[in-house]
Symmetry: D2
Subunit: 295 residues, 4 copies
């Protein structure tokens, strides 16, 4: 199968369940909502070494937020236990402290719910209030009054949606990956948690050559500079660089939409030669996103 | 004392020692170095609830980096024990995985040094190499070869440099704080770790009204909406909003330079009415930065 | 009438006909389309002293462009005669010369059409081709081949949609104006041609006190610092700064949508006190946008 | 000669005299100075079809500007006659109208000076004032009072500094050109006036195949897709894309510094294969910048 003349590998991306909360951050301008969102979703590329996986889902006009101000929606993804802790810490440290922000639950219909007792920060000077039909706390702070919700929903979503952008050289692969991550940024219900939405060093579980425990090591089958050195290299002829795009999303359907948008964007970039995806042969994750089925 | 007609409070900022590593991130363009730096310094506003405090120190031309590529310098600040762990995790998860990046030690003369064994990620496919006189590891990854240092220095620096921008209303305070944080961004050797370099909700240690243990609560003396409700409000007449600028730096001298640059910038903004600073009356931290001495 | 507690003046904005072309600029990534669009729409705030009025209408995903690449849509507004010249010069100088761009007609159904003979740049090395059903020229250039359309439509649209954001001080007015221009940036079919979408120095036609010919001078009725010096000041009590938002659009309906979105955003900003609009009492322009009718 | 293993052509860039004014735009924050600067320097890539050539020279901290506010410095380049007109129009339409800006002469020591009578906009409500030792006008406008200088210097500078980034494919050439233009952005006294500092379609004077007058057409010798079709192609083997970097500067020395910084940055990008430069064999311009002499 081909897309814009670029062969699409006959394989699938393998995904895993992950719990996800969606937090709506509003502010006096979209810029200040984004400033807080960027800080709140930092150090959150991969659950292997970060406390969670997080990213910016999209921007919202005043018509789309509970308080009528512009906003940014973020997704925070982790194990069920850790989601609450991470939502609390990231809002308390990165959003409550940020200029002019408010926070609202972005999954009000989710059955699974939790409470972050952030209003204790008010030291009993805080009061309850209602904004846009949401039960909020008004907490006196230096800038004035912080207002926000404390109860958030979470849903079982999908981690590990992915595809590989393979190109004739590194700069073509890089721009292809960038076009892909830009396109996915427009797909609601999904995030790409890695820096700039691009993964330069896709990994395998554990190690082959080191004997001590190590959670992940380089995926030598997909390393172009090892093509002649490993027996089972999966680097096609004419390819000398690979970037992986990794997607988390609220549903399987959203992951598929993001993968499709990303692949369609990547293959438009000159020098992109092949699209593939990563999986564990179906042994680990319950979700399989076959590339051919996306189109 | 006044600066541009704005009264400067007769008080001081109180600082504390903190251990700091400086990491130089280079990439194919400054933009990609910045993308990695933003992710690596995220979720790092305050050691109260984040794993460390971190921020972008500045940008570097190719003449200023070991590998001749453009770069971004970041500071990672924590207790001595935690610095190593945070440098490792943030580089491994946010920079090694980012497109086209390399990492170098930004404090090569520091006596206190540590090693992050990141080359194990190479699963024995990695090799030693030298770049710009630095001992590096070349690790095969999907994009090609990652190259970077593993040994980093750390120094005992200063946390908690700060001042308050007080204004006649919230938007004047906000733009004043923004002008201040922009100015500090140009001061080498310093960072402002909070979202956008601005703190909306400065805190006090512990709580006055809640009886259970809580690390920090709102600083009601500096809350404008509590001015009439607390007996010891420190909100001057004519002020209705306050932002705090918090600065970490490699030395006392750098903190002073940053405070001076920030205050000079803030007082240029129309509507800014008063500059003060936060301290614990000298009971907690060894460093005192008297505002009057800056000018 | 009020909106979020802010009084809306009982007046109307007065608009004028203007001819508009819409140019779709695509590129390898949205960033490069935007770089070209920013240059192509510069020096184009007001027809009083600029060759045209122009601005960015919005961004387009690959699904929305003829060549499947990400894009930016711009509007170029002038007299009927000047539109063709300006579209030619701005595309030839700012887009054909820009990296990886293509150009397509954004008004394919417009009856009024014109041709810019840009393919002569190819010095007979150029060839015709078809992209996404559009008749294009492929011109060999240094980066490879430039591909784009040469025939564009134009329609009679509306210039001069406007409103005034009035606030208790300058910083509140500024952030209010910024929130407004951000909101309008999301409204299809409209642009705000001034720097950052904000006008600091709204004008009147001609002069009152200078006797030589001068196209426009300061609108002293709306100058806060002249409130006590002119007999007919229109500055309400409690207002000390005013910004004007000026909107051009493809239709009256689009202007109304933009004015509504902008005003709703501005009144959310603390310190904004009054919304008004500018007109010539209906003597000059055929379009009247009554503020009260927007809501 | 080689730089980082990339051959540097044994040729020279040919430059021409051009008159240049430097305008310092200050604002409440660097962001607002930049917004005005971008608009004021737009539609100014090449004097062939634009009213002038202009670009952003750099950013300035409050310590470096007459009014103590952050600023952006721009260069406006044209024939001696046109500089005055362009400085007037671009300041009057794009900066006086922009939020919170002031304007100052950036060449106070230049002997050649001119006056733009912008204060007439004040309709006799304006007053003289002095800021930072500069004679300014204070003009009442809607946002408050605009303050700025009216007299500017101009100097005879240099246009047409240039070099070619040639790479194995288009994306490598693009990123190489981007790294180069980023590096030049740090060199004082210079600008790159084209969109993003990169020229995709370098031209020759006149036409070879069209017989009617036409100022410039594609430079077929440097078009990779014409390599087999023209007898005198200058595209080296292994090169399939070329971008030109064009630099204007205050002095020959500044042009050289910018060319050196740009070339050093470009050759660091993987896939860049050759650096050359454009000239008319010394027949047209008095300045020759030999590439070999830069290093």
């Amino acid at each position: 199968m081909e897309c814009n003349g670029v062969p699409i590998d006959d394989t699938f991306a393998e995904g895993f369940p992950i719990w996800i909360s969606r937090v709506i951050i509003t502010a006096v301008t979209e810029e200040y909502a984004r400033v807080a969102a960027v800080e709140a979703t930092g150090f959150a590329t991969s659950a292997i070494g970060c406390p969670c996986e997080a990213g910016i889902e999209g921007t919202l006009s005043g018509d789309m937020t509970p308080d009528g101000r512009p906003g940014v929606s973020i997704l925070i993804c982790a194990s069920k236990k850790k989601v609450k802790e991470q939502v609390l810490e990231r809002i308390a440290e990165c959003v409550l402290t940020a200029a002019t922000t408010s926070v609202f639950d972005g999954l009000p219909d989710a059955e699974e719910r939790f409470d972050i007792k952030m209003h204790f920060f008010g030291d009993k000077f805080e009061e309850k209030c209602v904004v846009g039909g949401r039960n909020c706390w008004k907490i006196p702070i230096m800038e004035g009054d912080y207002i926000g919700e404390e109860e958030f929903g979470m849903v079982k979503g999908v981690a590990g949606g992915n595809f590989f952008v393979m190109a004739e050289n590194q700069m073509a692969a890089l721009v292809g990956a960038r076009a892909a991550s830009d396109a996915i940024a427009r797909v609601d219900g999904t995030i790409t948690s890695f820096s700039g939405g691009i993964v330069a060093s896709g990994s395998k579980v554990g190690a082959k050559n080191y004997k001590f425990p190590i959670p992940a090591t380089t995926n030598e089958q997909y390393c172009p500079t090892l093509k002649e050195k490993v027996p089972d290299s999966k680097i096609p002829d004419g390819v000398s660089s690979v970037y992986e795009i990794v997607i988390n999303g609220l549903t399987e359907e959203r992951i598929k939409a993001a993968m499709k948008a990303g692949i369609k964007a990547a293959v438009m970039v000159p020098g992109v030669r092949f699209i593939s995806a990563g999986n564990y042969e179906g042994k680990l994750g319950p979700y399989q996103f076959k590339l051919a089925d996306l189109f």
